[in-house]
Symmetry: C2
Subunit: 469 residues, 2 copies
């Protein structure tokens, strides 16, 4: 057993050693975690947001309600300089009709498969559009079929790879079908796209999400079908030709005025230097966007309230930015970036929570090795709460523009992701899937990370440009 003993010495987790100035923040970090667990209000905030504005797609009345709710919440929490950063947003409406019915084979005629329009899809003609279905499992297959696709609905049925231990990587490996499916179908003469929902779970909830059109090909309707619906369609196709009737009445409207919502705690020593904590206020118009990303918004909001509750006045400014239009445009992120164009070099760090509000695991950061080491040392203060992991690589759709424009170090708050894509963009994404201790602990972890970075004598070094990575 000598070998085993040797292993013991090697794998005993080394106690993280941190610099004195970080170590000095440990009591504040512990107090934040305990305050979050004992009296945290992130869950209560999320319950309120899900009640006031369960559907918050950009341009909708719900999105406007969410903006006003967030503004009032920041004022109620005592944040400073509460303001809106206006932007014009794309305005798409799902409509009332989303039906996919089997026409042939005769023995399945009338069967209805569960679908949702993909975000941005055009409508079908009123009464729907009947067409044959052709299944593809790869882009190569589509290319080979080429003209055989003409006049048909292309059924993208390449599942997410369930064996990937990182569920997010499995999503990343399949979501090109959703984004590009309509374009590539139309390029080969297809009249629409039916995309297998982005989840490994077999159930009857379709998952919506953004899709794109291209200027050089016709726009065709695109929908997500539930995974059970996809299995059914594949089974029917295994027996012979399948015709379906697809009907959608979604529509595009002119861009609408909207805004991101900003509030902050001014730094006591270097108020011009800023740490951003954010999430995105818009959400898809199914479920309640509780995880994506109402919860992230409420964690960012609550992080600042926790600092105020404990009277932790940071040296640098800590700013909450609740971005509009992450899901289908990114206009809020662009507008915020532009609004701080001459202050980017004083943006020390930006953290976004946009990976669901499961149990906290830690963070990931895009930073120099030196910056990453500092962040890792700070994260180690969170290990007693089992959320002290720090990964190399991170950011978020709303804060990445700050990195691109000003090499601002960017960071993702990371909740455990093993069930995130079971609910993402579907009717399942409701408050009932969120647990108070988990969302509150995440808020406290974000507050702790921001606070310690705000206290450091030296700001974090600028992040390396993406090209270098």
């Amino acid at each position: 057993m000598a070998a085993a003993v040797a292993v013991s010495l090697l794998v005993s987790p080394a106690a993280a050693q941190v610099s004195p100035e970080i170590e000095a923040c440990r009591p504040a970090v512990t107090a934040l975690l305990q305050e979050g667990l004992a009296r945290g209000q992130a869950y209560d905030k999320l319950a309120a947001l899900c009640r006031v504005a369960p559907h918050r797609l950009s341009g909708s009345p719900g999105a406007a309600a969410a903006v006003e709710w967030a503004r009032q919440q920041m004022l109620a929490d005592g944040l400073q300089n509460v303001r809106l950063v206006p932007c014009m947003v794309p305005h798409w409406e799902r409509g009332q009709v989303a039906e996919l019915r089997v026409v042939e084979p005769a023995e399945a005629a009338g069967e209805r498969l569960s679908i949702l329009a993909l975000g941005g899809s055009i409508a079908t003609p009123p009464g729907g559009q009947a067409a044959e279905v052709v299944q593809v499992r790869s882009w190569d297959e589509l290319k080979q079929l080429d003209e055989q696709v003409r006049g048909k609905l292309v059924f993208y049925n390449r599942p997410m790879d369930p064996t990937l231990l990182d569920y997010g990587a499995a999503y990343g490996g399949a979501v090109d079908q959703r984004g590009q499916g309509a374009i590539e179908a139309a390029r080969h003469g297809g009249v629409g796209a039916i995309v297998r929902s982005m989840t490994t779970r077999l159930d009857d909830f379709p998952h919506t999400g953004a899709m794109r059109y291209a200027a050089d090909v016709p726009r065709v309707p695109a929908v997500a079908v539930s995974t059970l619906g996809a299995e059914r369609l594949a089974a029917l196709l295994g027996r012979g030709p399948v015709r379906v009737r697809l009907e959608l009445d979604s529509r595009w409207l002119p861009d609408a005025p909207s805004a991101s919502v900003v509030g902050e705690i001014e730094g006591r020593e270097w108020p011009d230097e800023v740490i951003v904590l954010g999430g995105h206020l818009d959400a898809w118009d199914v479920g309640q966007g509780a995880n994506d990303d109402g919860g992230g918004c409420c964690q960012a909001l609550e992080a600042l309230r926790l600092l105020l509750a404990l009277d932790l006045k940071p040296r640098r400014t800590i700013r909450c930015v609740l971005f509009m239009n992450e899901e289908n445009g990114g206009r809020g992120a662009e507008a915020y970036r532009d609004s701080v164009a001459d202050a980017l070099d004083r943006h020390v760090l930006a953290i976004e929570s946009d990976g669901g509000v499961g149990t906290p695991r830690g963070f990931g950061a895009k930073a120099t090795p030196e910056g990453l080491a500092t962040l890792r040392a700070i994260a180690s203060l969170l290990e007693p709460a089992a959320c002290g992991e720090m990964r190399d690589g991170g950011g978020g759709a709303d804060i990445d523009p700050l990195h691109a424009a000003g090499r601002v170090p960017v960071m993702s708050f990371r909740a455990d992701g093993q069930h995130y894509f079971d609910l993402h963009h579907s009717e399942r994404d409701t408050l009932e899937t969120v647990w108070p201790r988990e969302i509150n602990l995440g808020a406290a972890a974000m507050a702790a990370m921001a606070y310690v970075v705000a206290e450091l004598e030296q700001p974090l070094p600028r992040a390396p440009p993406d090209a270098a990575r």
Copy 2:
């Protein structure tokens, strides 16, 4: 920034180094994790168990259904030597009535607080029992009140400490009120016990659980009140005397015959040496016992099926034991221990999953330092799935008797516990709180741990006795 750079070197996670024989198992471990995620059936098994036998309290028809379901599942999965280990179990029935109504003050008269009988409580007289309520927040307070308690209902309102980062520790710090409340109330002349539910969440779900009586004091009824009910009662008591009427019709019946269910994969080389994987088949008669502990049972069952599916025939026997009567007696654990009394020294390891089926984190073990080092090296193979933590300390109510009698190393499978006590022993503990990837990944992690231990040339050293720890 020199200090920060130094920190970087110190806290970079050391790659775990493992002995060659453990390293040789890495492909099998990876295959198990991927098979679990891709085709795991732990969730499907749990769905079936929750449908067939949602209420499985010892002695009930539901418990009998669960035993038969488990036996058939083991046969269907192809386990060997499928058998029952019989035991006689305590038989308590909740009954139909559990009411706590305010009588005074007049302005609250008729208000009903949400309660559940604690498991094992006697009934009140038919029509209920009216009494004044006296609140205590500590055993000292009860002792000081002493005779003032006579004729009253003792309201134990010491909350779980929400600031403890380990939710299980918070539970451990408060659950004495549930176990001992009726005894100590009666010792001072109290006529019953009302115990604040064991959760930090404020809601209206009462949480049941085991309570005890003592031979030297009268038996009095005992109930759990929801946390919101407890807050209401405390608020009323803050304004003056409170009288309530408590009614329960729970009852004790004679001990009933039942059984634990056992099946195994015989070792190819040392079939007499055994690794036990277990959970407990009985559950409280509210919700569906999905997390406590239907999920643990299904993970243990599924772990063996995964091994068979991958044709991983271990050197030692891997045995699934689904214990009866963990919640209110431990008779199944005793009967299993007695049934293997002359084989305890060939029980190499026992692992129980009984901490909910949230996202997997790792394991905890009661073993010698040498044994723990080996287990830690094995667990490191699970790090790609973020469940490779190995803690010093672990076991389970059903396997601890194996340790006590034979110093068998015992181990708990550890899921993340931040929401476990929000649902534990309440109507919330249903299938809807379980996610397929999480329960399936846990089953695979248990299979991997058991498999590698079953392959080791040398068995794990016996665990130290408890007295030495």
